[in-house]
Structure formats: structure tokens, C-alpha cells
């Protein structure tokens, strides 16, 4: 595996560096090279590269050259820098927080709906899960990017620890009040870290707001326009942050660091409950030495939860540079590759191999028909999908998705202010007010930069 990756990157580098003028042409007998940059580490990266290899083997007009470009944020920065230098990849994998930036990128990108119309390639987006479709489309429903690896946030909990604390290992509490009691019981039973959270902003602010059906920002969380303003300094989030800070002080909750840093605390057995990406499943399956379960995210009493939103990444078709347009042949190749990704068998395999969501209904049905979810080893693998459809599948403008410019920065800001509250430098309420003010400054700055 390792050697193959090195070979693949060496090949990709050679092609990117040496053969740029020739790569775009696609003369007789020579397949058209399409550069594809992604940000998935192993083993996911290898599985993704295998999909590109399968596409290449299925026809001989186009060759998708997949190459790993570092983490999601690094891939984003690399693609933007490459665009400015006129060397952008044809396709780039962009994480969900980069969506707002890409949508505002104007002539740097080729929207998927335009791409498909010009190349006369058909992809049936009505079959995609509504939560996935909404995240990557314009308000009028036209798709801007190609959905691929989507996840959502769920709870993983340690059943052995639950048993030790005399808690029911087969029923995770549905409310935060119940979670707090469970955490107290776990602590009393000697569990040093009852609960933690990965992706603090994504799980405790974004997903939290969506399932409680409260707005994160105006303009339908930014889907309606660049003039959106954050609304996170609200009573419900203040209550939740106050609880988190108190729980951290009382030893019921442990802040495990920014972004995915807390992921490791669950499979190691350190923390008994983790709020994490559904994509963590593969790692837990591989590493955990205990019985574990999957559950939906809790809500505060008195709330009827609705659907959660997605995370993960989608694929964007990019222009070559400020003065470099793609040829019709290149666009045709990109569209063909996207159509390949939309095939139910490709999407279904990706879902069962990785724990990401099946992005289309056809893929979900296909997997269900094989009896995959009924196997004991896969127990709970359908919890993320059920949670995406919670509330009867009727999404509100609070649960369609989030599209904020400079969202990478806003996520960091919320984490920073939360960290200051954990240190006792400010109250939870001040943390949210500060995060809202600083985040709004980022939004206004982004709006100004992208006025055209």
C-alpha cells in the first residue's frame, strides 16, 4: 500500500511538473490527463485513488490522476495558490467549511450544473439525500459541486463502561439531561473521562443548532447570501456552553483539543462517550478493545429533534487559472468522472468500506438489500442515515446546511473563545458574544472581498 502510494504520487508529481502543456491536449491515442487533488489520508485516500483507477480502466479517453495534497485545509490552500499561478487541478476535493469560499470564487470554478449542461452529461441529483443536495446547491436547487464523501455527527459510547456504571448499555440517553446523569454515574463508577467531543464547533454548535432547529446565522445560515450574520449568542447555546464549562470543571467532560484531536480519546478507552464524525467508525472498529454502541445526538428536554447536517467534502471543478480556461474535452472528462462517482455501486461501496454516508437513495437501498445493516459487525451503521432523516425528512432553513465565507476562521474563533471559557477567563455567555462579534467581522470582511 505504502509503496503504491509513493509510486502514485511520484507519477502525479512528474505529470504535474513536466507534462503540463501536453496534458491538456489529448491527441489521438493519448488520453486526456485530469489532475485530481484530494485531502484524504490512508486508508481512505487509497480507497479514493482506487475509484479513480477504476474509472481510468473503464474507458481510454481520459485519465484521472489522483494525488494527495495534505489535510483538507492544506489541499484548499494548495488549490487556491495553484489557481493564482495558473496551475490549478481540474478537480479538487474541498471540505464542507470551504464551500462558502468556493461558491464565491466566481470564474475560478466551473459550477457542476453548468458543467453538466455544456457536456450533456446527466446526473440525477433528485436521488441524492436532501441534506447532501442542499449543502452544495444554490437556493434555486442548481448544483455547484459534486457531493462525494459526506458524514454527519453521531455519538459513540463505551458499552462496557455503561455496564460498570449500572447504565443500560443498549439505550443511550436521548436528552442532554440524561447524558449529564449518565456522565455523573460514569464518574462515580471511576471513569476518569466520562465524555469528550471531537470537532467542538461542528458537533456542539453547528449540529446542535440544526437538530434543535435554531439558526446559526441569518439568511438561512448563509445559504441566502453573503450578508448573513451569526446568531450564536442565543439562550439555548449559552445554556449548552455553560453546561460544558461546568461539566469540564466537575470532571464530567474533557476538552480534547481542536478539530479532530479528541478522536483518539474514545478508541483508546479513555473517554466513555464521544461526539464525533460518523467517519470515525472505521477507526473505532479497528482499535477499540471494548464493546461500543452508536447513537443519535441528544437534545435538551422539550425539543423535538430534526435532521442533522453533513460534514465531509465534495468535488469542485476548477478553471486552470485567472487566464486559463478548460477545453471542452477536459470538461467532458470531468463530467464523465463525476457521473462515474454517482453510480449506485460506487457510492454504495464507498459507504460500506468507510462509514461515510451513502449519498444517494439508490446506494442506500442497494446496501440495505444486501443485508449489510443486519450483520452484528455493522450494528449502528445506519444510525447516521436515520439521523439525517430525523424529523420526517422535512428540512428547515436551520437544518439545510451552512454556507459562510471565511468559515474556517469562524470555526477556529469559536474554538478559541470556548477554550478561554474553559480556562475561566470568561463566562460561556461572553465566549459566545465574543465569538459572534469576531465571526461577524470575518463575514463582513469576506463580503467586501467578494463584492463583485
Amino acid at each position: 500500500m505504502f509503496r503504491r502510494t509513493i509510486m502514485a504520487s511520484a507519477v502525479a508529481l512528474g505529470l504535474a511538473g513536466g507534462a503540463v502543456p501536453a496534458s491538456a491536449q489529448g491527441t489521438q491515442g493519448q488520453p486526456v490527463e485530469l489532475q485530481f487533488w484530494h485531502g484524504l489520508t490512508q486508508p481512505l485516500g487509497g480507497m479514493l485513488e482506487q475509484i479513480a483507477a477504476d474509472f481510468n480502466a473503464s474507458q481510454n479517453r481520459y485519465r484521472v490522476v489522483a494525488s494527495f495534497r495534505g489535510s483538507y485545509p492544506e489541499t484548499m490552500v494548495a488549490a487556491i495558490a495553484a489557481f493564482r499561478a495558473g496551475q490549478a487541478p481540474h478537480i479538487v476535493q474541498m471540505f464542507e467549511v470551504g464551500t462558502g469560499t468556493m461558491m464565491a470564487a466566481g470564474r475560478a470554478i466551473k459550477p457542476v450544473h453548468e458543467l453538466l449542461a455544456e457536456t450533456r452529461v446527466n446526473i440525477d441529483f433528485s436521488d441524492y439525500l436532501p441534506g447532501v443536495r442542499g449543502y452544495y446547491s444554490l437556493p434555486d436547487g442548481r448544483m455547484m459541486s459534486m457531493p462525494f464523501n459526506s458524514s454527519t455527527s453521531v455519538v459513540f459510547y463505551n458499552k462496557d463502561a455503561f455496564r460498570r456504571a449500572n447504565l443500560n448499555p443498549d439505550a443511550f440517553p436521548e436528552t442532554w439531561e440524561g447524558v449529564e446523569q449518565a456522565a455523573r454515574a460514569l464518574k462515580a463508577a471511576g471513569v476518569a473521562c466520562p465524555m469528550t467531543t471531537a470537532w467542538p464547533t461542528w458537533t456542539q454548535v453547528e449540529q446542535f443548532s440544526a437538530i434543535h432547529n435554531i439558526p446559526l446565522a441569518t439568511q438561512a445560515n448563509g445559504l441566502g447570501g453573503l450578508n448573513a450574520e451569526l446568531r450564536i449568542a442565543n439562550p439555548l447555546l449559552t445554556r449548552h456552553f455553560t453546561n460544558l464549562v461546568n461539566w469540564q470543571r466537575d470532571g464530567l467532560f474533557r476538552y480534547g483539543g481542536r478539530d479532530g484531536a479528541a478522536d483518539a480519546l474514545f478508541p483508546s478507552g479513555e473517554c466513555a462517550i464521544i461526539f464525533a464524525s460518523s467517519g470515525l467508525r472505521a477507526r473505532i472498529q479497528r482499535e477499540a478493545q471494548f464493546q461500543w454502541g452508536v447513537a443519535m445526538l441528544p437534545v435538551y428536554q422539550g425539543t423535538t429533534p430534526i435532521n442533522s447536517i453533513i460534514g465531509g467534502a465534495s468535488f469542485w471543478a476548477m478553471q486552470g487559472g485567472p487566464n486559463r480556461q478548460r477545453s471542452a474535452e477536459e470538461l467532458q472528462g470531468v463530467a464523465q468522472f463525476f457521473a462515474w462517482l454517482a453510480r449506485p455501486e460506487v457510492a454504495a461501496k464507498w459507504h460500506t468500506d468507510t462509514g461515510f454516508l451513502p449519498v444517494t437513495r439508490a446506494a442506500f437501498e442497494r446496501v440495505r438489500a444486501t443485508g449489510f445493516y443486519d450483520q452484528p459487525a455493522n450494528a449502528g451503521a445506519d444510525v447516521p442515515i436515520q439521523q439525517m432523516l430525523r424529523g420526517g425528512g422535512q428540512m428547515t432553513e436551520n437544518s439545510m446546511g451552512i454556507r459562510l465565507g471565511g468559515f474556517v476562521e469562524i470555526r477556529t474563533i469559536i474554538q478559541e473563545e470556548l477554550e478561554r471559557a474553559f480556562q475561566g477567563q470568561q463566562t460561556a455567555e461572553q465566549a459566545l458574544v465574543n465569538a459572534q462579534n469576531r465571526g461577524n467581522a470575518v463575514l463582513r470582511n469576506f463580503e467586501r472581498q467578494n463584492r463583485n
Binding site: A108, P322, E416, E419, N445
Partner: protein, 293 residues
């Protein structure tokens, strides 16, 4: 006296200077000029639209409490790194300079950390001080000292200072050792015969004679703490918790590379450039006078 070489004509000397001038222009003046130009602009990430905004970027960063926090962090961080790295290095150098058995081995071992890349050094310290997997981190928590640098800003700062200073000790050690070995034995022996004890000999003879070395190292260490500690901070704390370990250079990276806010990042680079130019000028003008070569 100095020997002068006279060239016939001007073409050859300029030709010989050319490579150095070209390198300086391409790798120093051109990027610096770009940074200054960029600091007056506000543009989107893809470079498709740009506005000239005058000094607005500077006004923004100087009125940002987080930027001023980064300035304060940098002052604390740089002085702590420079002084602890110098202090430990001079202590080790004096000890290693004594006539002890196997001093060659000690000297070699003390130089090793310099060959460790900053990010690797940070990972080594992480394995020591991580609250869950680190040897010392677990020990501290075990004896009842709540150690978690992910939520405690002061502990995070302490950790990055230790990791950054440790890395620089070897470099300082080499220079101090060379400086010590160039101090004439006769001077020390004369002081010893006059009845000066080792401590007194150190402060009255050795330390003043080491002054040129110390001064040079002070400049180098401060520049190191300002610019070369990015990898250490990035690998250990990513500037957190809050912005407790965000120094000026780290903030330039966060705003420019992560947040794609080029105008603000360029303005910060220009400020940083001005600070370092001023700092170096002050050091050479005022401190150097008191140093006797």
C-alpha cells in the same frame, strides 16, 4: 595592515558581485516588496478582485486586541526562550569545559539536539508532556497537579518555551564552548593566584570575556524565537488554547495561509519586519557599545 586588491576597470568587480546581488534582490527585496505592496490591498482568496485600501489593514490589526495579545505573547516567548537557552547553554559549557573524564562524549551529546528538526523536537516534548500519553504529563496528573496544556494557556506557553529553548541550547553551547576555550589560561590562573574563587572568577573574568559571544548569541536567539519557532508551536499547540501561544509569526501564518486573508497577513509581516529591523539596530547601536571585543 589590510591588503588592497585593485581591479582594472569596473566591469569585473560588478560581475563578481552580481550573483550575490541577484540572490539578495530575488530572495529578499522582491518578496519584501511584494509584502509591502500586498499590505495596502484587500483581495479575495483567488486573486480575482483587489481593492487598494491604503493603511486600513494596518489600522485593523493595530486595533485588534488579539493582535496586541500576540505582540505580548511574542515578548514573553522570545525573551524567555532567549534567556533560558543562553543561561542553560552557558552553564553546560562551563561544566563541559572543566577537565573531567569523557568530556568529549558530553560535548558531542550536548550538540545533538541541534540536528533535530523543530517539528520532531516538538513531537518529542509532546510525548513527554501530553496529559494522557506523555510520561511527565501523566506523572504530574498522578501526583495531583492538574496538567493539561490544551486548556491551560500558561502551561501551553511554558511547554512551547521549553521545547523552543531546548532546541537552541546546543547551538549556544557550541559557541560558548569555543568562547571559553579561547580565554587565555594565564588570565584565569592569575585570578586564581590572587585568591578569586570559581564563582568570582566566572563573573569577573570569564563572563566579560564571553560578552562578544553572548551578544552575538542574543541577537541570533531573539531572531530564532521570532521566526524559526513556527514549527514547534504548530506541532504542539497550534497557537492555542484561546490564542495563548499565538506569536506574531504564527499569526501571520494563521491569517495568511489558513484564513486566506492576505492583506492582513501582509500588513502583519511588514510590522514584523519593522520590529526586527528596529530590534537589530538597537542591539547593535546601544548594547554593542558596552561589549568589549
Amino acid at each position: 595592515m589590510r591588503k588592497k586588491v585593485i581591479f582594472n576597470g569596473v566591469a569585473l568587480p560588478y560581475l563578481l558581485l552580481l550573483p550575490q546581488l541577484v540572490i539578495t534582490a530575488v530572495f529578499f527585496f522582491w518578496p519584501a516588496g511584494q509584502a509591502i505592496y500586498g499590505s495596502f490591498l484587500r483581495e479575495d482568496a483567488f486573486g480575482l478582485s483587489r481593492d487598494f485600501v491604503g493603511l486600513e489593514n494596518f489600522a485593523d490589526i493595530l486595533s485588534d486586541p488579539n493582535y496586541l495579545g500576540a505582540v505580548w505573547n511574542t515578548v514573553i516567548f522570545s525573551s524567555a526562550v532567549a534567556f533560558s537557552a543562553l543561561g542553560v547553554a552557558i552553564f553546560l559549557a562551563v561544566q563541559a569545559d572543566k577537565a573531567i573524564r569523557g568530556s568529549g562524549a558530553y560535548k558531542t551529546l550536548l550538540i545533538w539536539p541541534y540536528a533535530v528538526a523543530p517539528a520532531v523536537a516538538a513531537v518529542l516534548w509532546l510525548f513527554l508532556f501530553h496529559p494522557q500519553i506523555g510520561l511527565l504529563g501523566r506523572f504530574l496528573n498522578g501526583i495531583g497537579i492538574p496538567w493539561d496544556y490544551k486548556v491551560n494557556g500558561n502551561q501551553a506557553m511554558l511547554l512551547v518555551i521549553i521545547a523552543a529553548a531546548w532546541k537552541q541550547v546546543s547551538y549556544n553551547f557550541i559557541f560558548f564552548l569555543a568562547g571559553l576555550q579561547s580565554i587565555p589560561r594565564s588570565v584565569l590562573e592569575a585570578a586564581a593566584i590572587d585568591g578569586a574563587r570559581p564563582t568570582r572568577r566566572f563573573w569577573t573574568v570569564i563572563f566579560p570575556l564571553l560578552a562578544p559571544t553572548s551578544f552575538f548569541l542574543l541577537v541570533v536567539n531573539i531572531v530564532y524565537a521570532f521566526f524559526d519557532t513556527f514549527g514547534t508551536i504548530h506541532a504542539l499547540t497550534q497557537g492555542g488554547p484561546g490564542q495563548a501561544t499565538t506569536t506574531l509569526i504564527y499569526k501571520v501564518y494563521v491569517d495568511g495561509v489558513q484564513n486566506l486573508n492576505f492583506g492582513a497577513s501582509a500588513a502583519q509581516s511588514v510590522v514584523l519586519m519593522a520590529i526586527v529591523i528596529a530590534l537589530t539596530a538597537v542591539q547593535f547601536r546601544f548594547i554593542e557599545r558596552k561589549v568589549h571585543y
